[in-house]
Homo-oligomer: 401 residues x 2
Amino acid sequence: MRARRGHSSSRDARLPLVSAKQRSPTVKMGGPTELVLERADGSQHSIHPLWLRERCRDPASIDLQTQQRLQDPSDFDIELALVAVSQPLPGTYRIKFSDGHEASFNAEEILAEAALTPTSHDCPAPRLWDGTLAELPRARWRADPGAAELSSWLEAFLTLGFVVFEGVPTEPGMVLKLGAMFGFTRETNFGALFNVRSTPNANDLAYTSLALDPHTDNPYRAPVPGIQLLHCLVNETSGGLSTLVDGFAVAQALRERHPQAFALLASTPVRFKYLDVDAELTASAPLIELDLGGDPKAIHFSPRLDFVPLFARERLDAYYRARQLFDHRLRAPDFAIRFLLKAGDLVMFDNCRLLHGRTAFDPSEGLRHLQGCYIDSDGPRSLYRVLRRRRAQSSAERRSA
Amino acid sequence: MRARRGHSSSRDARLPLVSAKQRSPTVKMGGPTELVLERADGSQHSIHPLWLRERCRDPASIDLQTQQRLQDPSDFDIELALVAVSQPLPGTYRIKFSDGHEASFNAEEILAEAALTPTSHDCPAPRLWDGTLAELPRARWRADPGAAELSSWLEAFLTLGFVVFEGVPTEPGMVLKLGAMFGFTRETNFGALFNVRSTPNANDLAYTSLALDPHTDNPYRAPVPGIQLLHCLVNETSGGLSTLVDGFAVAQALRERHPQAFALLASTPVRFKYLDVDAELTASAPLIELDLGGDPKAIHFSPRLDFVPLFARERLDAYYRARQLFDHRLRAPDFAIRFLLKAGDLVMFDNCRLLHGRTAFDPSEGLRHLQGCYIDSDGPRSLYRVLRRRRAQSSAERRSA
C-alpha cells in the first residue's frame, strides 16, 4: 500500500492547536448524585440522567443477543435523576437511578462516544486534497488480503475518497466480485454491471468518445449511488485519461472565498433529470448538500442534467453566479488529478464526494473498455469498524492471556 | 382497485382557496426582449435569460438521443440577455439570445415546470392520514396488470405511502418478483430476501414473537432502504396484527402543536447503530429529516437503536421532551391503522414516511411466516411518470390522427 497524502487540508488547519493547558477529557463524579464529563478545554458538563439510563447494558435493559433495547426510552420518567453514584473500581461508575434501576458504566466508553462529533461516521475523517496530491493511493490487488492490508485499503478510501487497485484480473465481471468485498451492489437502469465504451446510439454521454468534465453520477436517482467502481479491461487509446476532483475540497475553497455563494448552493434545490424509454428519473438536491453540522455531506453535480426551478430573477442571478464560481473551480486543473487507467487497474471512489471525468479519446486508435458498478456507501465503513473491533478484541485477549 | 382516502389532511387544508380573482398562470411577452411568467395570483416574473438558454432543445444544444446538454451552462455569458422575442404561433415563443443562439419555447412546458414546487417529485403528492383512514388501499394482484391498473396502484402508494396486494401466490420468493416490478432490489445484511418468523437466537427483535412498536427499518444504514415489501406466506396465529402509522402526519401534528419540539427533532442528529458479527453499521440522521423547502422528507425512528450525542444537559433536556412528545403520538391509537395480513397478502410501504410494527403473537398457536425485501425509493415514481408520459403520447397521437 503506497498512500502518500497531498498537502494538509484547510480542514485540518482549522483545528485548534493543543496548548499546554489542555489535558485528556475525563469522566468524574460531580458529587454523590452526578456524573460529569470534563472536556479537554477544562469545561465541565453534567451528564444527563436519561442519556445514561438509555445506555444501560444489563440483561434487564437490552437483549444480549441483539444488543437492542428492551424498552422504549420515552417510557422513562422525563424527570429521571441519579440518586447515588459510586466508583467501585477506577474507570467504573455504579449508578442508581430514581426509578430504582442500577447499572455500571465504563468511563472509557462514555469518553469514546463523547469524542465523536455529532455527525461523525466513527471512521477516519476525510483528508481533503487538490491537484498537488503527490502520489495516488495505489494498492496491489489480492483476492484474500490480510486484515491489516484490507484496513489500509479502507483507510485510504475513507480519507481520500478513492483507491486504485492494480493487477485486477481482466476478466469480465470482476468488478462485481471486487465490489461485493466492500458492500452490496447497487443496481440501476444501466444494469448491475455497466460497460463503458464508445457505442452508437448511446443512451448516455458516457458511452461516447467525448471528453467528460468532472461530474457525479446519477444525481437524478433517490438515493444516489454511493460508491462507484471502474475496472479497465482494455485501453489501447492514448487519450481517455481518468480525472478525479475532490468535491469537498472545492466546496471548502468556495466557502472560504465566497461564503455567500457557498450558502446559496447549499440551500437551493436543483432538479436533476434522466429520460429513457423505460425510465423517467427526477430528484431534487442542492449542488452542495450539508449535514446537520454544516459540513458537506454530498456533492451533486452534473451540468448536462440539472434544472434549477423558476425562482425570481434576482435569486437566479445570484444562483447562476455561484454555480459558475463552483463549476469553474471544479474544472480547474488546480483541483484535478489525471491518470491513465491501464488494463487491470480498478478505481473505487466515493460518488458523493469525488467528481470524475475523462479526457476525449480517438476510438480509431483502438479499444477502450471499462466495466463499472455501484455499491452502497455504508459497506466500506462497516467493514472498517468490524476490522477495528476484531483488532481491539484480539489485543484485549492477548493482554488478558 | 378500492382506494378510499381518509379524512382530508391538514396539508391540503393549508392550500389557499381559489378565489374569483385567480386565473390560470400564463407566459407572455414583457416587451420585445423579455418573456414573463404571470402566476395565478397576478404577480409577474421576468424569466431569467440563462434559465431559458439552458433549456434550448435544438440539435446544437442537446444530444437528441440522450436529451443531455452538449455544453456546460456555466460557459454561457453570465450577462446573457434576450435580444428578440416573438410569438410565431399561439403558445410558441421564438427567442434570440445575445450570444447569437436562437430557439423556440413552448409555453405549456414552461408552465408545467413553473407549477412544480421546488422540491416536488413531479408525482402525486402525499395525502396525510391517521387512524380514521376508512378503508385500506387494497388491490387484487395480477402479474400482468394493464397500464391504467398499474397507475392506480402506484397512485395509491405515492399518495398514502402504502398499498396492500391480495391474492399474491404464496410461493417463497414471490416478494422479490413483485418488488422487481416496481424498482431495484436493495440488498442488506439481512439478505436480498428476509424471512420474518420467530427464531431462537434472533439477530433482531423482528425475528422474535414480541410486539414491535411502530418504527422505520434500518435507520443505521446509509442510504436507508426506501421501500419495504412484506409478503405473508402463512399466518395461523390470532395476534401479530400489522400496524402502520403515517410518520409525516404525526410530524405535521407535532409541528402544529409544538413547533419548537418539531424544530429540535429536525435539527438534532441522532446516531443509529446496528451490531452483528460481520457488520457494524452507524448512521446519523435527525428523527424528522426535512427537505430544503422545510417539508418532511424522511422519518428515522427506531427507539431500540438510537443514541443522541452527548450534548449539553439543557439541550438534551429539551430533546428528550420533544422525542417523548413525538414517540407518544407515534404509538397513540389515533394515528395507527391495524390489519391482519393473511396468507397471500403483500403490503408495500414507504419506509421513509411510514412506520410499521406488529402486535405480539403466540408462536404456540401456529406458524406466522412473512418474507420481505427492500427496493429503492425512486422506482415507483419513475414508473408512474413513464406510464403518464405514454398515456399523454398516445392521446396526442389520437388527437393528431
